[in-house]
């Protein structure tokens, strides 16, 4: 009897804990599943200005909660994803976009890696050309043994 009571108490406590957890997720009154998916998708593309390596969807910072609420309200007012993003960019700068737009000030960001790749490729091509030029004349003169030795690298 005592054991039963104890397990009942434990079960009740666990239930309460579950309810408290569910509260922390702050459910929003979405009108359908599509709207909820859109909201999840949108908040996952935006960056929390406070804890800067988290998305608005993930972050538990107060400002992230406020901005999520604001995004929900804007969705209720029929704003498009692009309008909502612009709303946040106007206030918090392009920093909030995880995907920065291709603009003049982000050219280096977008094409910098390509530039470095091209420089590297040019260096490789130059080296190969130089080697083949310096190796070819000696090839005819070289004995097979000498060739083998030179092949080590």
């Amino acid at each position: 009897m005592r054991a039963l009571l104890r397990s009942l108490l434990l079960a009740t406590l666990l239930l309460c804990a579950g309810a408290a957890l569910a509260q922390a997720i702050e459910p929003l009154p979405f009108k359908d599943h599509a709207e909820e998916v859109r909201y999840q998708h949108l908040t996952a593309q935006l960056r929390c200005p406070m804890c800067q390596n988290e998305t608005l969807a993930d972050s538990n910072a107060p400002i992230a909660r406020d901005l999520r609420n604001q995004i929900f309200q804007l969705m209720q007012h029929g704003q498009t994803d692009a309008q909502i993003k612009q709303y946040l960019v106007d206030r918090y700068s392009e920093f909030v976009l995880y995907d920065p737009p291709v603009a003049r000030n982000t050219w280096l960001l977008w094409f910098g890696p390509l530039l470095i790749l091209l420089v590297g490729a040019a260096a490789v091509v130059a080296t190969i050309r130089k080697r083949s030029r310096s190796v070819t004349p000696s090839m005819s003169a070289a004995t097979p043994t000498a060739l083998d030795e030179g092949d080590d690298w």
Partner: protein, 180 residues
């Protein structure tokens, strides 16, 4: 000469990494430059902390420059900044307007009773809704607004004596010399 090429490559790379270190220690990396600089301050209508029936708007503050200081009783850095503001307020040359951010009014009043109240005007944004229009994301933040209601300067984080002397005072001096 060709033997030097890897060394030159190394020097360039080291230079780039050194620049990265220098650049990132020179400024607060978490501070996001506000897109509102040199733009009109957003419209707002907020109650006074001590007289909630009275409201302040952007229009009612036009005509004189002011420093809008966003603070809250729960904000630890605000306690660091507060003595600096309090000492500087009389000689600042602009009005110091307090913006109590996401705070319970009673907590804010108790905090000000302890730390002192340097604000010539003090409004309260309990919900934090208006603060979104200002692009506020962390207290303390300070906005310097000119007589035409245009934001001229913003500082994120506490105003230290260095920030005061090196940034804020020059920004105030650079305000258009109109009737103050």
């Amino acid at each position: 000469m060709s033997r030097l090429i890897p060394f030159i490559g190394f020097l360039l790379l080291a230079g780039l990494l050194g620049f990265g270190i220098w650049w990132n220690t020179g400024h607060d990396q978490t501070a996001i430059p506000s897109p509102l600089i040199n733009k009109p301050a957003p419209d707002f209508k907020l109650p006074l902390l001590y007289e909630p029936t009275q409201t302040v708007t952007r229009e009612s503050l036009l005509g004189k420059p002011y420093l809008l200081n966003v603070f809250a009783s729960w904000c630890i850095e605000c306690g660091v900044e507060h003595p600096v503001l309090q000492a500087a307020a009389p000689t600042l040359g602009v009005a110091l307007v307090g913006y109590n951010y996401k705070d319970a009014p009673d907590d804010a009043k108790a905090w000000l009773a302890t730390h002192g109240n340097p604000y010539s005007l003090l409004m309260a944004d309990t919900s934090g809704q208006t603060a979104i229009d200002f692009g506020v994301y962390a207290a303390p933040e300070s906005f310097l607004v000119d007589a035409h209601g245009v934001i001229r300067y913003k500082h994120i984080g506490p105003i230290t004596p260095e920030v005061l002397d090196n940034e804020l005072k020059p920004a105030i001096a650079a305000l258009p010399q109109e009737p103050r």
